[in-house]
Symmetry: C2
Subunit: 228 residues, 2 copies
Amino acid sequence: MLSRDCFDGSISFFRPHQYLAREGDDQSHVFLIQEGWACRYRLLPDGRRQITALFLPGDWCELAWTHGEPPAQPVVALTNTRAMAVSCAQIRRECEVRPDLRAGLWSEIVTSIHRQTEWIINLGRKSAIERLSHLFCELFQRLRNSGLTYGDQFAMPLTQIEIADVTGLTPVHVNRTLREMRARGLVELQSKWLRIGDLDELRRIALFQASPSLTADNALPKVMLARA
Amino acid sequence: MLSRDCFDGSISFFRPHQYLAREGDDQSHVFLIQEGWACRYRLLPDGRRQITALFLPGDWCELAWTHGEPPAQPVVALTNTRAMAVSCAQIRRECEVRPDLRAGLWSEIVTSIHRQTEWIINLGRKSAIERLSHLFCELFQRLRNSGLTYGDQFAMPLTQIEIADVTGLTPVHVNRTLREMRARGLVELQSKWLRIGDLDELRRIALFQASPSLTADNALPKVMLARA
DNA sequence: CGGGTTATTGATTCGGTTCAAATCGAGTGG
DNA sequence: CCACTCGATTTGAACCGAATCAATAACCCG
């Protein structure tokens, strides 16, 4: 996993609600999340909010920035977060001479595109319970690939408000839907800890299809930057 | 514009509903769309459909495939389509020796990520009229950048059913919303031709923010592959 | 303890869906 | 030129999933 490898960069810490990047910032570095969760989002003028990506341990926070593109949206920590700041210039420099690194970064960005595509399907065509089921399947899979699940459970720091902002629902309806899911034995969510009651059924409801590259697990060429 | 440059590859033609790629295909080439529209989509078991990307003239159809990743979703032509098939192997080869090409492809993929992110916001948090307004703003901007608009009009081959599959609505409600938009003088859509009545108002309703890289227009490093 | 988020539940409303049917338009063939 | 078809568009009516409004309870942290 990415987070266990050695990279060159300084370690940064963030508190909940603290910005990793603001819209339009001149971002000279990207982050490799080591611990904690962060998200990027868009706030509409009237207060509606949509979270457009979740960053979990092992994720790169915004490879898009590496080539000079400024952040299109703010990125904010959801929990206490530890991340390594890696210089964009360094990444570009290393990429010049290391085809394997280029391939690895490419692969990471393709993965993030797949995830976004799934979110589009989720938001466009699924019911509330399908959306929540999908979200939990995705989180379980991502965290499991990073060794951050414990049996059928994992730490789930999102509030119901944040879950609503991911799934395009209202907090009230998230609450009701969670109650139903609990009643049906699908999942149990309490004190920031999520237990999967019935993974198969959850996947079925979510219409979840494990992405090929993730089932053939860790087949993804993993990105490494040698310590300078 | 991409479509006017010289690339190496054979020209393919597709009829509406014909596949450019199927899910999981071993895709040895990508397409540079020269004329016509295509889309990628997911079909849910019960028939619900969500279109997850639109490919217009000048677009690469699925740079994600270049590094061996098979298509995660089918891509189908929406109109008669002419496209150049460019070998993935050739792209990878050229990338090895041409940093400018790498940068160009990177920039293209970042643009597509931004578009996907906007769709997530659209589907997650916007009303029907806001979604349609956004879609039309996006199409207008993309086509204008390719010189395919004529004053305040452009060819819009999508049926209302397809518009529904893009915006996550039902065809019936798309129809009603279009009627309202027509009544308010925002847009007029007839016989596959769309006229923008009030672009400023349309943008305001859509909560549309022109992407920075697109307003600084054609500032994007344009991708070129020399004819071999 | 106290104040502020977060979670929960009820009542009501509403945007959008669903079902149904009529209309329109472009082909196609007689 | 007309009859016929088939898809796309348009409109109506009833319904429903989720939003909204409102109020309380639980929790967390300083």
